[in-house]
Amino acid sequence: MRLLLVEDDPMLGAAIERGLRIGGYTIDWAETGEAARAAARAQAYDAILLDIGLPDGSGIDVLRDLRAARDLTPVIIITASGRLDRKVEGLDAGADDYVVKPFDLDELLARIRANIRRHEFRPSDLLSVGEVTLDLSARLVRKGDEQTNVTAKEFRVLSALLRRAGQFISKGELESALYDDASDVESNTIEVTIYALRKKLGAGFIVTARGLGYMVPK
């Protein structure tokens, strides 16, 4: 899953980015409001982490612009102020949630999961198709009662497929979920990953159609 991190402080930004990567997310990091607006226009994100204090204005303004453009991506604001009026202002401007600095990494990850879950109308972090279950919070994959060991790449690809089970997902979209920067992608990575997943979960679990991409049938 791909997140947009909007944070001007290099030290805090680096720490959040690293924490989110460990949590299995792909991160784009914008340091200014302008960069954030550009990134949000260019790419769909599963969630946006938005710091309020930015060098070129308030993150609240970025948020208002997003909502004005009918962008419904879940937005979690990062605020340095525990003041109620700031929280209210952020939520009223269209934020879905907020964390107050200094925050806990696990709490941040849980809030991101919760907001994406709500956004996707899922009741839980368990994605199930047939006898395969993927637990987004515990980062586990089970087939029947057996736990299946998957790599980080396999996990990301599988979660992308399961979240939109029954729909084809293009190779490009899967690459975007896998890599921060599409230029790094080796041409056959997706194929290799899909091959590994089919081996672990059953050949028919993921179907392919040329020109459409990949799908996990419901």
Binding site: D8, M11, A15, P55, D56, I78, K101, P102, F103
Partner: protein, 468 residues
Amino acid sequence: MALVLQRKTLAGRLFRRMSVLLTGVVIVVGAVAFWASKRQVDEFYDTELIATATLIEALMREEAQERELARDSGSTSVGEPASMSEEDQEAVSAYARWRVFHVWREGREVLASPAGPALVPPEAPVEGFDELEQTGATWRIYTLPLPQEGIVIQVGESLDVRGALIDRIALALVIPLTLLVPASLALMWLTLSDGLATLRRLVAEFGGRGVRDLAPLDAAAWPADLRPLVESMNRLFERLAASVEQEHRFVEHAAHQLRTPLAAVRLQAQLIAREEEPAERAVLAASLRAGVDRATQLIEQLLTLARLDATAQADGVVDVHGAAVAALADIAPIAALRDVRLALEGRCGPARGAPTPLKLVLANLLENAVNHAPAGSEVRVELCDLPDGCLVTVVDQGPGIPDADRRFVFERFYRGGGERGPGSGLGLAIAREASRLLGASVVLDNRKDAASGLRASVRLGAAAIQQA
């Protein structure tokens, strides 16, 4: 009333002074009134004595004339001394029972009132008053000589008579006056406490305030003579409120800004706990230390700013050249580490200011310049004597500050976008605050020559000419 007994209360002091004054005034008024009354009484009684003597004289003359007529008609004996008839004597006695009279002819008493002091015939009678001590009383005697007839009339009166009247007058004065003193004092006390009640109300108004209650009082609602006090208190409140507000904003801002490095530190600690690769752990540990360093630096700079806020503006004379040399020496190790050359150009004389703010201005401008200067570049301090002071400029070859950002950079905690050096974003804020204490301001400008870089200049005032 307990208030009045305390020596130190204003009401007590006023009341004591006014009581002494009032008592003195009452005593003097009483004395003057008594003395004036006594004189009036004396004059009145003396006039009465003269009138009585004149009356006796008149009666005697009338008698003598009647006798003359009788003699002419030959009905009365000849040679009977001038006298008054029995009825006249009685009339005079009745008219003034408390008076005595004596009529002398050629040294012999021819007529006398039945009572009174025994008088000796005056040898050389002169018209006038005399006083005589006799039979335990003092008598005032009026002597009226009639030399043509060889008669001397003396009319006397005991001083007790007028004494009694004077006593009555004195009593009539003393009673109201003695009553007047306590009554006036009581009224005075009421007036005084009423007058001072306003003052007490003002005291209560100020005394009852909470620490945070700095609302001004309505000066127009207080009496004119309390208004200067109210107004100066209001000005004090205003300054206090401004400084409390500033402190409040500062503390809030500081706490706010500390949260960012703390958030980073917290996340870094969590990341270290999850990292199993020793090399990665070392990297994370280094950034954790950097985070702690940044928070520490931030705290130190906050303290510097807080202390600076409290410093009063100093109006001394500072050695600008010496301060610049010292500041360059201080930054030299960091500059060497970052491979930045330092230079000092020009000279300038002493300027108005104080050493500590000047040191802070120079140190922070230099630190800012060195932190943003690329390796191998030069940071230069230019000194220039001006007719009215001294211009200090710190020039670097860094990226400069975009025009759009220029107004933000002095804001506390602002950290420019783009290329980043270390620093909390407080350096320029400190430089600005400190230069304000020098009565100067920091002007930022990008270099006008071909090279990129920032020119930060401070125009210091001339040192005041020492008055002999």
